[in-house]
Symmetry: C2
């Protein structure tokens, strides 16, 4: 059955590169979640838009379900293929195609890693400003599928803001050329925006034209030690008021201890419960003075107990590593990840409620907090005790996620700030989107993909 | 029949304000286009979200088609009710509802005029930066329905960029609360973005939460006289390179003559074929010097023959009036309006082709050009000779629009940069959107509004 199906694919797309080895099926069948057993039909590695189209035409004819696949660094199971799907990996389509100095755009294939996009933009003296720790492995197509956020949203917004045009292959194998980098285009529904964040369920992104920004200003990085959680929003306000913030990231002492155990350099002799790493534009005396003024005001108010400001690029990187190394340092503990957001103004009330909730709910688990305070996004990682079975651990965590989802609903928040819904957050989608919204999403999906071929089971059930 | 239908509406929504006088039917049944004879069933003027929902529930039950209506300043017939539709005017829902200093958002009802939004934002020391000449009459809901652009897109983008949340009433009368001003929210399809620019065909915007910007920097306004069309893009490049541009607008001598005939103050003794009005941030000596350097470079290159820089706010307003007064000064000629865009990089080639095309096509008509060069948007207005019948004039113009649409297609442009498709541009939608795209748009509309109740006939036929 599988063999004859793949034979028909080979016949339909003669030059298509296909992988079917057990190791490949496992490698390409999962993402950074480890909760599902990979079980794809095969891995298709198209080399061109035409091949992606041909594979989709074949899939539509044969009713074969397809999982679009980028760098598979996702944390919500959006790229998992556990049920005989064909994985459509874009990894061979990883080139920059065009740069336009007047439009200030870079056109790239969807499989290009984010870091390669950064480098390509810098070669032209410009910046693609979306950035986060998985930059070396994640692909721009995957970034678009989840509307990736990251550490510079406070200044530059999410991926959505930087997409000037998209080429997308539909479930029927047709090619859409969306918006073509027009600055102004009021000609009906913006399907480009609809595709961004749709997690591969409405079409397969094959190319993107990215807007580029001016190179960032010179910056300094500051690490702050906080004495209590309560002062966090005040510290943010004090810095935002006085400085052009490029990033404002928070983490707890537990997070720091894991990063230090992974080889990072200890920043302070003393131990404090909370830390902030913030990056801000400098370049004139005003901004240096403003940074010192913000720091001193926070010291005087008792919110901040200590601080260090980077004196070199190397030191800036060292400080950043304390925040960026967290995810990697936690990986061995197979953490259960929450990625939630509320309006910035709702943060204090939500934080208070959530702290109380988690303190009660997880007395025996280690909970690691970090997040992007400046855009209302908190990451709450629960670490699996070594002896505990994965299934039991997840079951216990899901009980708490139900409570967390209720708190989010009460505060108008989101169960997924930037990871996407995928498989992991699917049971909680209704905490964030109302029944009428979910019904409309279902209708849109059905309109675009009536056979249900694209990334089946992700986001919501048919 | 009409009477019993309206009786049933009065019974279903007892306190609903309704207008049925002939004068009101004409007033609310059309927008700034004058091509269709207004013929609505009646005008509903709901005072609350609940009333909008109740009217839509009634409409769904009775299969009554509904035209959502804001300031009716549209130029594409998007708010025309010429076929017995119920007009749903949001004009009574025109209040600011909430301001949040931490989130930097302003929540307003959809019927609030743009200028009132500007004023409300400024009361809090912040700015809603989308702006254009119809600000006094147009409503924010209409701005959202067309993703309005205007004169500051080069700096601030279109309406789309400033919408943090939307409340929308569906064809079934359900209320959607979309995105709730979250900065990060990756929880499925972004229906907020889908609604923006959908011209009232997918839902009725009843409330919007707007992001606000820092107050604009101090600026100067400069008027430039250009000797030829060819230098236009070079002048733009010279200014963009050296200054933080807030606006860069172009118009022809014919446009200027109409504005002067309307009472504006003549800027130069000599007559030049083309003019640019540009606004840029100042505040330090650097920017003043940069502006002079840009001006002198353009003079030396022979692109610019004369210029004037504003010495006061009053003079800045006087210079702006030369550009902003164009539409009003042309109104008596019932102009046929083209509102097209291409990528900025495509402008020179497109302009050349279009100039040649229009020169051949309109030897007997007066053609007035102006536009937003910095974002690739050209307005081409053809003036009706006094003696010519409107229908004959439109028929002749449409012949040329067909050619223009072909040129746009060749250059990857759009038949509507900012006015929307409505009724006026509907025959040309396929110059901008491919057949697969239009099929998907049709499917989405059908999924959201299966009975075809919302703004029927606009954008595309069922």
């Amino acid at each position: 059955m599988t063999d004859s199906l793949l034979d028909s694919l080979r016949a339909a797309v003669p030059d298509l590169r296909l992988k079917t080895d057990a190791g490949d099926l496992e490698h390409y069948g999962r993402d950074w979640t480890r909760r599902w057993t990979p079980n794809p039909l095969a891995i298709a590695l198209p080399g061109s838009v035409e091949e992606v189209q041909a594979v989709m035409r074949w899939a539509a004819q044969r009713q074969v379900r397809v999982v679009p696949s980028g760098g598979r660094t996702g944390l919500s199971g959006g790229a998992v293929a556990a049920d005989g799907e064909l994985v459509m990996s874009l990894e061979r389509m990883n080139k920059a195609l065009a740069f336009d100095r007047v439009d200030r755009t870079l056109t790239v294939q969807a499989g290009m890693p984010l870091e390669a996009v950064h480098n390509a933009a810098r070669e032209h003296g410009l910046e693609y400003p979306v950035d986060f720790a998985a930059r070396g492995s994640c692909s721009i197509g995957g970034n678009i599928a989840t509307n990736a956020g990251g550490i510079r949203v406070i200044r530059y917004g999410n991926t959505r803001e930087w997409i000037a045009g998209l080429k997308v292959v539909t479930a029927q194998g047709e090619l859409l050329d969306l918006n073509r980098a027009l600055v102004k285009n009021s000609s009906g529904y913006d399907l480009r925006q609809l595709m961004i964040g749709s997690e591969g369920t409405l079409g397969i992104v094959v190319e993107a034209t990215l807007r580029l920004a001016d190179p960032p200003p010179p910056t300094n990085v500051m690490l702050l030690a906080l004495t209590s959680f309560e002062g966090l929003m005040e510290v943010f306000a004090a810095f935002r008021e006085r400085l052009r913030l490029e990033a404002f990231e928070f983490f707890t002492d537990i997070a720091l201890r894991h990063v230090l155990a992974h080889g990072a350099v200890k920043p302070f002799d003393e131990v404090y419960p909370y830390y902030v790493v913030t990056e801000f534009a400098v370049g004139d005396q005003d901004s240096e003075a403003a940074a010192m003024a913000a720091f001193e005001a926070c010291m005087e108010a008792g919110w901040v107990a200590d601080g260090v400001i980077s004196q070199s690029d190397a030191q800036a990187q060292q400080l950043w590593r304390l925040r960026e190394g967290i995810t990697e340092s936690l990986a061995p503990y197979v953490p259960y990840k929450n990625d939630v957001s509320v309006r910035i103004s709702q943060m204090p009330a939500f934080l208070e409620q959530t702290q109380a909730l988690l303190g009660q709910a997880y007395p025996h688990f280690e909970v690691v907090w970090f997040g992007h305070i400046g855009d209302g996004n908190l990451h709450i990682n629960v670490l699996k005790p070594e002896q505990m079975a994965q299934a039991d651990f997840v079951r216990d965590c899901e009980q708490v996620t139900k409570l967390l989802a209720q708190a989010l609903k009460a505060h108008g928040g989101s169960i997924s700030a930037e990871h996407g819904i995928g498989l992991v957050k699917k049971p909680y989608l209704d905490s964030t989107r109302g029944p009428a919204e979910i019904a409309l999403m279902r209708g849109i999906r059905k309109a675009l993909d009536p056979q249900g071929l694209l990334n089946p089971g992700k986001l919501f059930d048919p």
